[in-house]
Amino acid sequence: MKIIDFAKKMDLYQLYDSKDDIEIEGVYIGDLLSIVMSKAKMNYAWITIQTHVNIVAVAELLDLSCIIVVEDMEVEQETIEKAKEHGIPLYKSKESAYETACRLQSMGIK
């Protein structure tokens, strides 16, 4: 899917997007990074309220397709810079994790 279409369909605010196309093969929701590191998989979209710079390292480590920060949490500049540095698409949503997950589901992502 074109990344621009993805953000539009999902009503996401782009903090950083690095790619033309985005591959999403699954979704993981979690805010404890130690658990995310052991559960999320490659090409998953990750929904979280955690905004610390470590989220980018976790996404990089697992090769996640993108990070979606929900509940309109304020994301530190350092985190955005790190996402640029590592080429990790980073989005923000005003919606809850549940609403965001529902949107992904309605787009056919299981």
Binding site: V53, A57, V58, E76
Partner: protein
């Protein structure tokens, strides 16, 4: 010589601590157990520290003003200070940044402030278990500005620890020490860059450490050189808060 310490004790001001955790009880129990250096680290407040300082002086125990801050990420971070007044300033900043969620005494217990005669002189309204508005890095630099140091708490516990919440210790974090929870497993690789302290995290009198964890010092005042970054000591007093 060996100085026995426990630098993570909660007074009754912490909502989760027992009502028996009054200043006199904590200091006397520490004395009986043979501790030489203690710190009281209530959640997100320093309001009980002044009473402890006086009581510890009377018992010949070295008291380090402390606090256990809940960072924005909900990581527990211990902060220690060289001077009580700077600790109090720091504590007020942290308390002021807590969300305006009121404590419910029937659920969490009273958040009692004591004088040095164990009389309750006031209570705190805001629930101290909430997260402050400062990130882990911000807490660290704010502590340094107040002639203090930060030590991530019980890093090998699953809840409210830097490893549990942030997955790993952020590489740029300006810390020398980490606190290890004795009853949980620890990956030695993770901590090899850091010095270690072990404390009780006591919420009940009986939980206060026995004289088991010690630091080799010539005198109790050297604890600052041991715990704090040396360069920070030299800068102290020149920083405005």
């Amino acid at each position: 010589m060996k100085y026995y310490y426990d630098l993570h004790i909660h007074s009754d001001l912490s909502p989760c601590a027992s009502e028996d955790m009054t200043p006199s009880n904590i200091v006397n129990m520490s004395y009986i157990k043979g501790l030489n250096i203690i710190s009281v680290t209530d959640h997100n407040t320093t309001e009980n520290l002044p009473s402890f300082l006086q009581l510890c002086d009377n018992r010949g125990i070295k008291f380090i003003p402390g606090i256990e801050v809940t960072t924005k990420e909900e990581v527990h971070a211990l902060c220690y200070f060289m001077k009580l007044d700077r600790a109090m300033d720091f504590g007020r900043l942290i308390y002021d940044s807590l969300p305006d969620i009121k404590n419910i005494p029937s659920i969490f217990g009273q958040q009692n402030i004591y004088n040095n005669k164990d009389e309750v002189t006031g209570t705190l309204d805001k629930l101290l278990l909430s997260a402050s508005g400062y990130s882990l890095e911000e807490v660290c630099s704010l502590a340094h500005k107040h002639c203090g140091t930060m030590i991530p708490a019980h890093i090998n516990k699953k809840s409210n620890s830097v490893l549990g919440i942030l997955g790993f210790i952020p590489p740029g974090l300006k810390i020398n020490f980490v606190e290890i929870h004795s009853k949980s497993e620890i990956n030695e690789k993770v901590i090899k860059k850091y010095n270690i302290i072990k404390n009780s995290d006591a919420h009940y009198l009986t939980d206060i450490s026995e004289a088991v964890n010690s630091i080799e010092l010539n005198n109790a005042d050297e604890i600052y050189k041991y715990l704090f970054i040396n360069s920070l000591l030299n800068d102290c007093g020149t920083e405005g808060s």
